[in-house]
Amino acid sequence: MTTTAHPAPAPTRIPRLPADTAVVFGRCLRATLRSRTNLLFGMLQPLLFLTFFGPLLTRLDLGADGSPWQTFVPGILVQLALLGGSFVGLGLIVDRNLGVVDRMRATPVAPLALLLGRTLRDVVQLVAQSVLLVLLGFAFGLRAPLPGVLAGLAFVAVLSGALAALSYGLAARLRTPPEFAAVANTGVIPLMLLSGLLLPMSLAPGWLDGLSRAVPFRYTVDAVREVFRGHYAAGTVGLGAAVTLALAALCLAAATRLFTRAGRG
């Protein structure tokens, strides 16, 4: 065995939280790339909607200018962020049961990096999947300006980060995967329906439209639809950006609290 003494690892001048986050992110990303089936199944649901539901809309008037694909694809992207982001906490529960989380928490790594590194991996994964969906949408007949698509992907990135972080915060406080799935499902499905992802809420009767205005994702998806039509200066875009960013700040704050205080209760 080495007879070296116990020097603390060489002090670095790199700011700790970003460097720690990068280490955790790298580990999580490699795990994701190893499980290719996981990558595919995460995309399966939006892919099915795109293929088997999208074409139904091509002859409908969705009450907006542009093609129905410009309304539908943004909805699918937000759906991916919503479903993909909300359930990532399951992975944390699995890792915790394996002892991986405790093993890492017993090192000097910044506790917040364990949350941020994972969340960042999910953002990268969901944005990559969104790019594939957009490309597929183009094959089906979607036409959208590139800056609009990029802006739409930015919305997806912020939203998935917010939901993934919140999902981890929740998972840090729940014991088992079934418990987590029950809570996440109960939250996500009504929110998804109420945000008008599949069909815009402009088609909805007054009461449903009114109800959906209480759901933040509605503003995100409306904004993504606008930028996909090339309308960048519309009030909807500004409102969507403001609501999405506020939601992200709120989710991140809640997640930090839930995650770093887990185990203390």
């Binding site: 690892p9 720690d20 394996l98 000097p108 790594v109 185990g263």
Partner: protein, 264 residues
């Protein structure tokens, strides 16, 4: 190092942990006092639910104590948890390996989590693998290893930062006799060559007898006896018994053969 360093590896006073459940408070650990000199192999012996794991999780900074103080490797547990984490290794019973991750990647990542530069983390991984006989396994996923091999990898992860104190929670549970003997030898070697203080929990009496310099018997969240295995045998084993550590243990924890909680 132990001769230059008069500060004990562990100095614990009044450490306690209680939970609030709807049915009322649960006292998992009640006012534990413990001093462990550098380089000792200490066995924490007790039946299931005695508070062994809770104590270790507190000392490894994973669970805040509800009362009491502790200095681990000279650092205050509550005020300087990061200082403690830099100086300990913690191997939980669950182990903490990702079955899909390769051995090398686990070792290198662990070094990076200890904030080693990339090259140093890689070098350390190779060094540990050589010392613990893992070199041939470096590129295998941990899920493809035998139970004994996995334990070695887990202990290697705990040694990445050359810890002053190594916590092992039931390190040989579930291993076959050959792997257990190999692991005991490894733990002795870690102490001998590195001067590492080892704090292990076990409910195997033969393990405590064979491996530990000193044993603390814990029951109901309290230390009920401590001493070398030989001292415990002579002090607590009833006169009408065979005088084994098991007899001492059963007398101490008040558990007769009819409700014997241990897999001895």
């Amino acid at each position: 190092m132990s001769d230059q360093e008069p500060v004990p590896a562990l100095h614990v006073r009044g450490l306690a942990r209680s939970y609030r459940l709807p049915s009322g408070p649960v006292h998992a650990v009640r006012g534990l006092d413990l001093t462990v000199p550098r380089g000792e192999i200490l066995g924490f012996l007790g039946p299931n639910g005695a508070g062994k794991t809770t104590t270790q999780r507190m000392l490894a900074t994973l669970l805040p104590p509800t009362a009491g103080q502790a200095r681990v490797a000279g650092r205050d547990l509550v005020r300087d948890p990061a200082g403690v984490r830099a100086r300990i290794g913690y191997v939980a019973q669950a182990g903490g390996l990702d079955p899909g991750c390769g051995v090398r990647e686990e070792l290198v990542t662990q070094g990076r989590l200890h904030r080693m530069p990339r090259a140093a983390a890689r070098a350390r991984a190779g060094e540990l693998a050589a010392e613990l006989g893992l070199t041939a396994l470096l590129d295998r996923p941990t899920g493809a290893l035998s139970g004994g091999q996995r334990r070695r990898v887990e202990i290697a992860l705990g040694l990445v930062n050359r810890p002053e104190v190594l916590f092992l929670d039931e390190p040989t549970t579930g291993l076959d006799p050959g792997s257990r003997a190999g692991l005991w030898e490894l733990i002795r070697r870690i102490r001998r060559d590195l001067g590492t203080t080892v704090f292990l929990t076990t409910h195997y009496l033969d393990e405590a007898d064979a491996l530990c310099d000193r044993v603390v018997v814990i029951d109901g969240g309290r230390a009920v006896a401590e001493g070398s295995p030989a001292q415990l045998r002579s002090r607590y084993a009833p006169a009408d018994s065979a005088g084994t550590l098991q007899d001492a243990f059963l007398a101490l924890t008040g558990r007769g053969p009819t409700e014997k909680p241990l897999a001895v």
